[in-house]
């Protein structure tokens, strides 16, 4: 029963969502909106579950004085501070909560995002080492595309930007569409296998 009830729920809602796509009647759109509302409620409940699990795991680390427990203390302190700021001062513009968001959380996120530039450089260096014919080809094509996309490419020759545009617009798109067709069919197949209960690994079952 632990397997069959979730599979039955998934199958019912999966087929309902599929059928409503073909039904223009307001009843179908109302059912669709209602199901989306339920999903929002489940997500909200899941957020509480996530918060509780987060607090539990860090508390355990602190109590057991595991390696890095000081970081857990910092994480819990930040969680408590944001919760307190939100409940007592509200989350409107000018509140402590928003001040912390704009001046602490946003810069931290931007810092991590900024690391991407350096990671791109190091990954590109590794990816473009011309050790084999394929990697040499990749390097050559990448050079054409990069040069064609910057003003110096136009200065080298007017054909270079056109060639770069053709590479990005024709062979690259053809390859991408091939991958996307496979992904589309794969998505349908997985969805159907899950709805019919053929795949149950997501429930923890193998058979």
């Amino acid at each position: 029963m632990r397997q069959q009830i979730p599979v039955a729920i998934v199958a019912t809602f999966g087929f309902v969502m599929l059928i409503q796509y073909f039904v223009p009647h307001p009843f179908a759109s109302a059912a669709y909106s209602k199901i989306l509302d339920w999903m929002q409620i489940i997500f909200a409940a899941a957020l509480i579950l996530g918060g509780v699990t987060y607090a539990q795991s860090h508390l355990k680390k602190i109590v057991q004085r595991r390696e890095g427990w000081a970081y857990s203390l910092l994480a819990l302190g930040a969680l408590t501070l944001m919760l307190a700021a939100g409940f007592w001062g509200g989350i409107g513009q000018g509140s402590l909560f928003m001040w912390l968001f704009y001046n602490v959380q946003a810069p931290l996120q931007q810092t991590v995002f900024a690391l991407l530039a350096f990671f791109v450089a190091s990954a590109a260096y590794r990816g473009f080492r011309a050790r084999t014919f394929e990697s040499a080809l990749l390097l050559g094509v990448a050079l054409i595309v990069m040069l064609g996309r910057i003003p110096v490419g136009e200065a080298i020759g007017p054909a270079l930007p056109d060639l770069a545009g053709w590479i990005v617009g024709v062979p690259a798109v053809a390859a991408k569409r091939g991958i996307l067709i496979g992904i589309g069919l794969g998505s349908v197949a997985v969805a159907l296998r899950v709805m019919l209960g053929v795949e149950r690994a997501w429930l923890g079952a193998r058979k």
Binding site: S57, K60, A123, G186, S187, L192, V198, L203
Partner: protein
């Protein structure tokens, strides 16, 4: 004598400019330049919709600079403007109506000076009807039913399907074994873009179920930091079942599958921290990734972990290809559970997927050849489908 503030020439011009209008109004109808008549408009329900639109058609011959204003009348006396249209427009679809409510339409014709020259009152009330099927989606329905039918048939009959070796999946068991030998954890992530309602996430969770069983079998320390508590609950259940199936209930530690944050770069920073502190021997990036893909996989590369990635995001695939040891490209993620478990029903459905790919490739080829010979009808028909 001159009227104060108005030159004589201006007064003459005013009389002259109004002369055509006076002539138009006093002239017998047969002498007028155009027949300003809106023939009784045909108002009909738009078929195959939610019952919220009516199609209004009319016939008239108006000079190009005339305009038609259509008013919509409800039975309760409320009147709204549908729109103002140039003279050459002869059909309008009025949307946003209430199903079952009756409407009539009035037509007002204005000339280029903005004078109202004709009014045609609508008499027959029409109500939009609700429909249970959108006929414009018939071809999509047929294709979906065909795919479903073939998938179900193939799951039952094509159970001996050969699946070509996929290096990334072949290496997965070795990568878990390597982590055990090195005494380091295996780190799994379904990506920040993962949601349980996405097929890619479901496919990733299917692979996770297999990884959990192998980890339980070998005694590997499997870690799965998540950004979504629903995924956490599903993964914990999956890992718990895996431990029971392998007869090692003590292997399952709920804290190893833990919620980190919903913030994208917070999630990336947390995983980077875990990698730097715990130095996992194997990183498995399988699911839906966005900008965090390179931050994660490049850090994994830096710590020397064996990395196997797979995603449906074509943009992130490029990053994984240059940073990971093995990358599952697109559909290979969806085929992974069949490949790993050798479940005959899943293998059968892979055969059906291949058949559809052949059909699509044939369609593209026929369309391409047709376009080459100028037979654009084939391409148009395929696009309509």
């Amino acid at each position: 004598m001159r009227a104060a503030g108005q030159p004589f020439s201006m007064r003459v011009w005013r009389w002259v400019s109004t002369l055509p209008l006076i002539l138009f109004l006093w002239a017998p109808s047969h002498a007028r330049p155009h027949v300003i008549v809106i023939l009784p408009a045909e108002v009909s329900d738009v078929p195959w919709d939610a019952g919220t639109a009516l199609e209004i058609r009319w016939q008239t011959e108006l000079p190009g600079d005339f305009e038609i204003v259509i008013l919509r009348n409800r039975q309760d006396g409320i009147t709204d403007t549908v729109g103002r249209y140039p003279a050459d427009v002869l059909m309008v679809v009025d949307r946003g109506l209430t199903p079952g409510r009756e409407y009539t339409y009035d037509f007002f014709v204005y000339d280029k000076f903005g004078y109202q020259v004709s009014v045609t009152k609508g008499r027959t009330a029409v109500a939009p009807r609700k429909n249970w099927f959108d006929r414009e989606k018939s071809s999509e329905l047929v294709i979906v039913l065909l795919i479903f039918a073939l998938l179900i048939w193939a799951s039952a009959h094509k159970t001996e399907t050969y699946v070509r070796p996929i290096p990334g999946l072949k290496a997965m068991e070795d990568a878990i074994g390597r982590a055990v030998e090195m005494g380091r954890p295996v780190l799994f992530s379904a990506g920040w873009g993962a949601q349980l309602d996405k097929p890619t996430t479901l496919a990733a969770m299917n692979i996770f179920g297999w990884i959990a069983r192998k980890s339980a079998e070998y005694g590997a320390d499997l870690r799965f930091p998540v950004h979504d508590a629903l995924i956490m609950a599903a993964a914990q259940e999956s890992a718990h079942e895996a431990s029971l199936l392998e007869g090692k209930p003590e292997w399952y530690v709920p804290e190893n599958i833990f919620y980190v944050t919903g913030s994208q770069f917070g999630y990336a920073a947390a995983l980077d921290g875990i990698m730097e502190r715990e130095r996992p021997a194997t990183n498995l990036w399988l699911g839906t990734f966005a900008a965090e893909s390179l931050i994660l996989s490049e850090t994994g590369n830096h710590i020397g972990a064996v990395q196997i990635a797979g995603t449906d995001s074509t943009i992130q695939l490029a990053f994984f290809l240059v940073t990971c040891d093995y990358t599952l490209i697109g559909e290979e993620v969806f085929a992974a559970s069949g490949y790993l478990t050798r479940d005959p029903r899943v293998l059968g459905s892979l055969w059906a997927q291949d058949m559809f790919k052949i059909v699509i490739a044939l369609g593209i080829t026929i369309g391409l050849i047709g376009s080459g010979f100028g037979w654009n009808e084939i391409g148009d028909w395929l696009r309509q489908i």
